[in-house]
Structures are given as structure tokens and as C-alpha cells.
Amino acid sequence: MPLLTVEDLTVTYRHHGTSVRAVDGISFTIGSGEILALVGESGSGKSSAALALAKLLPSPPAEVSGQVMMERVHPHTNIFGVGVNLLSASEEALRAIRGGKIAYVFQDPATSLNPVLTIGEQLREAIELHTGARGEEATRVVVEWLQRVGITSAKERLSAYPHEFSVGMQQRVCLAMAMATQPSLLIADEPTTALDVTIQVQILRLMRDLQRAFRLSVLLISHDLTVVERIAHRVAVMSQGKLVEIGPVAQVLGHPVHPCTKALLACRSAVALRRAGRADG
């Protein structure tokens, strides 16, 4: 039974009389514990779709329609509860879900973190808002998560500010903030694009390990098909607001049907690292 069922999601931006359909009636599902990659050129609507899922797009100018059914999963027993349509839920219900059941990680960690709060404060805030933990308990959870994402001497670094960390470390903190509330779904919008290539690998491996350990569902947005190949289970290709192809990674990337998919693959092989015996094609 899928965790998230998106049906006919449409996002229209209206500005001074003109309207642009960024997302044009797309439908897909994300299963529990599955990584779905959403790929496409910039302007294809992938980021708009991702933000629209939890109604994170500012309402004028964006108009969102469709259905986004999310099953309630009990954190400990993994039993599915009654589904809720996120697009018609109240703002109050949504606030509990955003950051709690659905967590986001964005491309630029510097803008995701509040520069005037220490990372300890920010993580604690997230935890206290979405879980029952308070005070000492919350701090313990914070330290635990920082350690899990690979930040050494986590306890001492609680009082550090975001700018004192490298970009790679900042992204780890963002991951910790996303994971600490034990979400069912993690939406990652180009999480490694702004990172150096060696750090990229570390973050991707971290995401993969976390996903395996916590049976997390992930919606991964990327323009990099190699990333998709390494991590994702299924991939959906978007072009100009429409979903043109969707299926298991091996199938879509191995035997592409739609011209857009083929074009993306062609670019990838044009820039492939041709090593003897390790050709990345």
C-alpha cells in the first residue's frame, strides 16, 4: 500500500493576468520505504511539484489542485491509518505534518539554516515541535542524530552556528533536522548539487544508509541521472509540467521510451567518465 498517492496534481502560477502551468496533472505513488526519483530539465516543474505536496507554495500566485493522499503510518508499528488529503487539510493539520511526517531537504543548506541560531537550538526546536521530547530528552535526541549523520564531537558542537560548518557539514545538519522528527517521507530537492563531488558521495551514502535503517520513503529530485541510478528504486521523468515516463530505475534508464528520457540519457553519456573497465554509460 503506497504511502503517498498523488492524483492529478496541477500547479498554476498566476501573475498580472498571465498564467503558467508549472505542473500539469501529474499522478504517481510513493511506496513505504521506497526511493522515487523525480528527474527532468529545469523548468519541468519538479520543484513546484515537490513543494506543492505539502502546500508549501505561496498561495497567490500559485494555485494547486488535485489530490495528495498520505497514509498515516504509526511510527513504531508501521500500521497504516486512515489517509488524509494534504491539499484539503487545515493549516493546523498541515503544520503538524510539515517537518514532522514530511521532511524537506533543499539544495542550499546555508539558506535552510537560520544563521542567528545555533544548530543545537534549531534541532531542538524541530524536535520539540514534532515529537513529545522536551528539555534534556530533546537534547539527547539532538546529539544522537548529529552523531548519526556523522558530525563528530556532537555535544560540543551544539552551540556552534551554521556558518562555522563547511557546506557538507551544514547539509548533514539539515539531514539531521529532517530525520530527527522521524518522518515517513523525506523530500530532497537536489540535495547534493551544491556540494563538492567528494562530499556529494558522502551525503548520498548517508542518505542511503538512513533510508535503509529507518525504512524511509524518499522523493528525490535530481537532474543527475547517475545519482538516480545509484540510489533510487523508481524514477519518474517530467517534462514541461507533465509526467512522461515512470518505472523502475533499471527499466527506465536501460530501455527509455520517451524522447525526453532518451535526451537526458544522451547528455549523461556525452559527459560520462570513460574509464577502461569502469565505463559509466
Binding site: 530539465e41 557546506v167 558522502q202 551514502r205 547528455c267 559527459v271 560520462a272 570513460r274 574509464r275
Partner: protein, 269 residues
Amino acid sequence: MAEPIVEAKAVSKSFPQYGGVLRRQIGTIQAVQRLSCTLAPGEAVGLVGESGCGKTTLAKLLIGLLTPTEGEVLIQGQPLGRLRGASLRAARRTVQFVFQDPMGSLNPRMTVEETLSEPLTIHRLAQGRARRARVEELLASVQLPPAYRRRLPCELSGGERQRVGIARALATGPQALICDEPIASLDVSVGAQILELLRSFSRKRRMALLFISHDLRAVGALCERIAVMRQGRLLEMAPTQTLLNHPQDPYTELLIRSAELDLDAVSEG
């Protein structure tokens, strides 16, 4: 062997570091340390490194936007630091530059035509009707329609802006082109097209190319020789296939595996 077009001889660049209450100089940051490299006519060389390794500083040193604290940069055998007037202008015609940010590298108030005419005006290469013809020629060489001459940068897509940037760099008919992360801000498919464009220039016009990037994949696809930079030093330089298949330095090996997104082979830390 032909004389290199651009040569860096034991070039170092350090920046002062200020701190404390009185903002005094408390130390220096060594961005580039005693680095030597050459770019021979017609060859495509790639320079790879992660952010902070000094590759952009090196690019600026090679093009004369920064002066080295030690060592010198030679353009066709002439020390760049000592060129003035006409000889400096000649050097500028010989070696040109493509910037990373397509939007930032174009004057937002100048049309494509004005941007492309500027090098022609500065170097008095063409006037009046000949200039218009040259502008059209440049647009065609980067596969942009002639109607684009009247557009402003904000009316172009990222890839189109970068094509204008490349066309501007080609206007003086340079023998060498230094590109600093030219496709980093672009889409994958647009970036692939720009790479293809650069490759064709390099081959057809026998123009030397120095391609600076953090993306080993792009560099590997375009260049005959690759140099790896780390913390201001040149770590390793070899022909592409040699470097990719038999890397000497463990850091190079790390870069290669990271470029392949080999999640399990890379160790933590």
C-alpha cells in the same frame, strides 16, 4: 615543441588575512603555491579540483586579473606582469576568458550586439558595416540566430547567455581560451551542448583550451590532458586516459570514484 601560449612559472598567490579588533594582518592565506603549468597551442587541458583548491585564483592569475606574489605568468613567452599598452592589448587578444556565471558576466544594460561589439571596438578590429557582419558571424558560430543581437541578457536563457559569453571571448580570434566552470550553473543538457560547442572550437580552430571545473566527468569528456589541483598545489597531471586508469595520487583516485558516485568505495571523512 611549439612555444606554449600560456605558461605559469612557479606562481604563488597569497592573500592577507585580517583579524582582531584593530583589523590588523594576522596571517596570509596561500591560495596558490609554486604552481607551474603550460598550455600549448591547440591542446585541450582540464584543471580539476574541489572548491577552495585555488583553481579560480589560478585562472585569474593566468588572465592577469590578479598579480602573483611570486613567480610569473608568460603569454607567448612575454611576462604578463610587465606588459603595457599595445603589447598588453595584444596579449588580451591572444588569451581570452569565459566566466562561470552567465548572467553575471554580461552587462545587464547592454544588448547582445553591444556586448559583442565591445571587444571589436577596444581592439579596433572592425567598424561600421564590417562590425555588424562580424557580430552576425559570431552569433552564428555559437548557434544563435541573428535576431538575438537586440536582446538583453535578461531576455536570454542560461545556455544562451553562456553562448554570448563564449562568442564575446572569441571575438578577438584568440589562440587560447580559459574557461572557469562554464557549465556549472547550467542544466545538464544545455551544459552538454556547450561542451560540444567548446570541443568543436578546440578541434576546428586549433584553439588551446584550459577547462577548469570541479566536474571530472565534463573535463574527462573534453580534454586530452588533466591536471588535479588541491590546496593551491598541482597534484598530478597526465593524459586523460592515463590519469583515469592509473591515478598516481590517492586524492585523484578519490575524485575519480566520487565522480562515478561509487558510494561504497569511498570512505567516510
